[in-house]
Symmetry: C2
Subunit: 709 residues, 2 copies
């Protein structure tokens, strides 16, 4: 990427002082290397921090052999970053001194704030107010800090370095949990992965997950970002960070725990996070092409492969195997992960069959154990898979062969040569040869023992490739309508009129205040019609019998009109009755449900699902932040498990998905334009007719904040 | 288990000579230890096979230093087992000589049989015929053989031992694929798992997967069975083996590849297997409590834990963690895997809170990093989780702490003491301390780095426990009805009458040959009724408009009768028309679909699903081999994703699931009794009324082999 094409850093470079400081002060510096206030100094001394290191301790002349300063005031200058490692009750005063000195970035290790109790939360508010007054970026409190091994900066008191120092590499980790963030670092170290930058955010009084992600998204130290979250507290910087990472082609792999009800409960007892609706988080991650890992192991598998920086926009997989059984297993895993495995070209299959008569050359290409008796065949098969198959990713399964004294050396040499001839491909080796992994890695391979884990990581590279390709396209602006919300919760008719104006069409209908008008409307619309009671005070009409279907002629319209008024008077005597709504009855449509609600973190979120049982029993719905364009709306719709119902399953005509997508997009634009007073909209059912015939809202409920009366 | 309670071996001990021989002859014995005919001898020499070893080679006086025999005839006695390692064209003659000598167990390495082509398949049939004539149990051809390290028997030419010899342990592996079976062995070896017995079945001319599984199910050498299958070729021994394993409380973990369409295609190109319907295999595995692994890694995870032989019938999980984040992650994984995590008793939570004020003692029990400052707390927390929580399984997450120089030794000591006090629990450690794994294993722990993998394996132990508990209960005999199938495919009315007699009730209805009779029937049943054309030649009535709904009075019955006859004459002029069926129209029922079909391997299989889109779009169905009792039928029904619809979702009344389960069980008994002429039955829709009101088949189609005309 050229400098010109590099997107703006969106202000995330403002964290430079926190993560890439040239001078560091430690408030509460300890002479004991094992104490919390001693560790950062011990680490930076041992590793040779490239900047100035200033211990602050009123009681000592030196700390761990470094000259100490008696106070913040006594420091030679404002440090780029200061670490506060004093008890909570002294932290605010220390922060204030730092602010007065001119320091603008502070890491607060101290615990005993919002994670503890109400009093702690109040103390945290005071701390934050001081930071804000001085314009200080504050990391923590109650955090394990930061390290950036590229400049040997260790602003952390983690004990993880007992295992070893970071090894060179461009994987960064961002974590709300200090323990878990350093667990990931340690697990990466055990696997030989280079993870040099780590930011833990603790209580997130100021710097939140989004800031840390955003810094990594623009920092040259990091190519691949691992993130661990328990709850997302703010959306603006978070989504800006994910957007920037995507534009800069930096994959983000995230564990967001608290999916389950159990997990959600545990997350709340652990942090003060807003756990949020996991489905909304999931939708936001998908929007930005973040791959969500279910386990730490999966996160590291993906980061390991991602560090190769090969992200195919269309990820086809070619498989070369010595075991037919493994080929089947890999095919199963690929289908499960949604990775395409197109067959080899016929001519190439023919050539391979001439080399090994009983090989299976389709894809998986099973060269059979024959090749171990005639070693040059290995290279010929591998070359053909790369050249003739043209696959973006190539998974090569050799089980123990790679470790074999007789076959191993030749295998390595031939595979290296073929890989080197096609360096743009993602080459993955599955082998049972722990001693050989480093050799193959030196040759440019990524190696897995288990082929299914390899397939899973390969699938993630395709997901990144597709997301990066989408980000490259000019994102269509979604025009927002001008929305003026009514003063109070509107009636169905008003709600539908507002939505129709915004591009969400409703079933043809007329509000009628007497039965003659109703008959006239029904004649205009054509029978059969539906009658519904019309009142701003009755939101759920069917509960009081306020909806009549299959009304077939003028007499039935008159009767129905009277019936509805009776029922309304009986069940909701206080309701204001405006009359009856006469609407076209549409049959044979697919019933969908659209909706909008306000997420406390991410704002208006739209939802689409198939109607009835699909939503309520199977939870088969898709979510997306508002607004979005019709193409995105169509992706949501086609991703539903029940989508085949719209696509002509069971001999039905194909439904007008394009019209539905336009309406869903329009609904999202309406919600985005309406502002925070809009609490929610339900369009249910949304009736979708066959292709070319459109879709029509049959009912709509709009709820406004403070709008009931 | 006492000797008395040990079930019969179901004849599987007949494989003893193959797997536990006292004398072994090698036909085609080679002096070269690296050749196929040389390897078994080299291996057994090196390892010290406990029996007699007789090389047969007409051209040499000695083979690898052992005296050689010129022919089978020249052998001092019939060997318990012989290995045939000669080219395919000489294999049949060798087998015949062995049979004449009195040998009754033979392993055929030779390839070039059914896996190759038609001619090979014919050669295999000749080979099999010779084996059958002599009463020989034949393993292979085209197999990698057997090893049983407990007696140092190596009837295999695998090259896997380059990695090392088996280590002691009671995990056995059975595999249709030689390459994959030994891959599993090698992967187990890399992980330090004791896998001492391996049987690969190759082309399965005689000994099939079921025989090998069955041998392990009764053999004292094996506690835990890993199995790899591409397709199950026979059901009788396979199901008997799984049944025996379950009765003997030996867990079976199976990889059955070919789940996917891709995988299915690859499996066929790799073996001559009948891949079968994966859904049926899945149902059979579930029936016998087999846990299906998706990856080799998962298979070995499960085998590793299973070797502890702790299988809780009710598997509750207690989690002790030093990281809140990990606790959340583990809770998510437990919910995903279906493992219960009940909370700690209130009083115990109170006690723990007194020990560490900011701990989270519910479950997960987060003791926080505080305990590393006050080490005796570790044991107190662990003790409380075991004693007060009473959990069957305990997962303990210590990340890098176990490797820490300061905390590690005390942690180990305290955890060992608590574990030893509660030896009946399944104790699992999740830690980032590769160097300490052997120590903890020596203390009786199983160890995982990734906590999610630990949870997954723990879940499997619960699945085994539940299956073993079910096996212990007296399985209710399912009485089979006496079924006499008609000569030809029956009409709907006959099909329903047959089924009703067997316990699958049908909607009240009458076959009427004229419109007067139809009116009389309708009056008897009560309006509205349904009219259906009645003809043995029209199977799918609705396709010709042969069904009329909502027929409301006598006039409409007359009209309808005429309409149906017209339509039948028009669309199916050759069909024999028997009249019209008049049936009660049932409204407000839940529509289900029941069915039976004949699986080529497993025989009659019953299916149940919710009607319509649930089956056709969402494939939400359950399968089970016939026959089965109502309790099992109810398990199938309640396991459907759409089951909440039957259980009162969306304000519906609860449906009569008990009646539906009785009908499904009765259908399964009918199919089991009917024999192979029954090709299939569709009962669709099966209308299920509210609790206590029963269920009624509204339509039934029965198809018989050779029954069309």
């Amino acid at each position: 990427m050229t400098a010109d094409a590099m997107p703006a850093s969106a202000g995330f470079a403002s964290l430079d002082a926190l993560v890439r400081p040239r001078s560091v002060a430690v408030i509460g510096a300890s002479d004991e290397p094992a104490r919390i206030g001693g560790r950062p100094i011990a680490y930076m001394k041992e590793r040779g921090f490239t900047g100035e290191l200033w211990p602050v301790n009123p009681k000592r002349a030196t700390v761990q052999g470094l000259p100490a300063f008696a106070s913040v005031e006594a420091l030679p200058a404002a440090p780029d970053v200061a670490i506060i490692a004093v008890p909570a009750e002294h932290a605010t005063a220390a922060l204030d001194s730092l602010g007065q000195k001119g320091c603008r970035a502070v890491i607060v290790f101290s615990a005993g704030f919002a994670e503890m109790d109400e009093a702690g939360a109040e103390a945290q508010e005071r701390l934050t107010a001081v930071a804000r007054r001085h314009g200080i970026r504050l990391l923590g409190p109650n955090c394990l800090g930061v390290f950036n091994d590229s400049i040997r900066f260790y602003g952390t008191f983690t004990a993880s370095f007992e295992k070893g120092w970071p090894i060179p590499g461009r994987i960064g980790v961002v974590s709300q949990s200090g323990a878990y963030g350093t667990h990931v670092f340690a697990a990466a170290l055990d696997r030989g992965l280079g993870m040099q930058v780590c930011i833990t955010t603790g209580n997130e009084a100021d710097v939140a997950l989004g800031d840390a992600l955003g810094w990594m998204a623009q920092a040259p130290e990091v190519d691949v970002i691992c993130a661990y979250a328990e709850g997302i507290r703010e959306s603006e910087r978070f989504t800006a960070a994910l957007d920037l990472a995507r534009r800069n082609r930096k994959p983000v792999v995230m564990m967001k725990v608290g999916r389950s009800q159990l997990g959600g409960a545990a997350a709340k007892s652990h942090t003060a996070s807003i756990a949020g609706d996991d489905a909304v988080t999931e939708a936001v991650l998908e929007e930005f092409g973040v791959v969500r890992a279910r386990t730490t192991e999966e996160m590291l598998d993906i980061a390991y492969v991602a560090a190769k920086r090969i992200y195919p926009a269309r990820n086809t997989l070619g498989v070369l195997t010595v075991s037919g059984g493994a080929g089947v297993l890999i095919s199963d895993a690929a289908e499960q992960a949604g990775v395409e495995m197109p067959p080899m070209p016929e001519a190439a299959q023919e050539r391979l069959r001439r080399l090994v008569p009983f090989c299976a050359p389709r894809n998986p290409v099973d060269c059979t154990a024959q090749v171990t008796n005639n070693l040059p065949l290995i290279g010929q098969f591998a070359e053909s898979v790369a050249r003739d198959g043209g696959y973006a990713s190539i998974l090569s399964f050799w089980t123990q062969t790679a470790a074999s004294r007789s076959v191993g050396p030749s295998l390595r040499e031939q595979m290296r040569a073929v890989r080197a001839a096609y360096p743009d491909r993602l080459w993955v080796m599955s082998m049972l040869a722990p001693d050989k992994v480093r050799d193959y890695e030196a040759d440019g391979w990524v190696c897995f023992e288990d082929p299914s884990r390899a397939v899973n990581a390969i699938a993630a590279m395709g997901a990144y490739g597709a997301a990066f390709a989408r980000a490259g396209q000019a994102a269509p602006e979604v025009p927002l309508p001008k929305v003026t919300l009514p003063e109070a919760t509107p009636s169905e008719a008003v709600a539908k009129a507002l939505l129709a104006e915004a591009g969400v069409p409703a079933v043809p209908e007329h509000a009628c205040s007497d039965s003659e008008a109703a008959v006239a409307a029904a004649e205009r619309i054509g029978y059969p019609v539906v009658l519904k009671i019309l009142s701003p005070d009755i939101l759920h009409k069917s509960e009081i019998g306020g909806v009549l279907l299959d009304v077939a002629d003028a007499d039935q319209v008159k009767q129905g009109f009277a019936t509805l008024l009776d029922r309304a008077r009986q069940h909701a005597p206080a309701a204001r009755i405006e009359g009856v709504l006469v609407a076209k009855q549409i049959k044979g449509a697919v019933e969908m449900a659209l909706g909008v609600f306000r997420d406390p973190v991410f704002g208006p979120v739209a939802m689409v699902g198939l109607g009835g049982i699909f939503i309520e029993v199977l939870k088969d719905v898709a979510f997306r932040r508002c607004p979005f364009d019709p193409a995105e709306a169509e992706r949501m719709i086609r991703g539903l498990r029940g989508a085949p119902l719209l696509e002509g399953a069971r001999g039905r005509p194909k439904a007008d998905v394009a019209a539905l997508a336009r309406a869903l997009s329009a609904l999202s634009a309406f919600a985005a334009a309406a502002g925070p007073r809009l609490a929610g909209i339900d369009v249910n059912p949304m009736l979708v007719l066959p292709e070319g015939q459109g879709c029509f809202a049959a009912d709509a409920v709009m709820e406004l904040e403070g709008g009931s009366h």
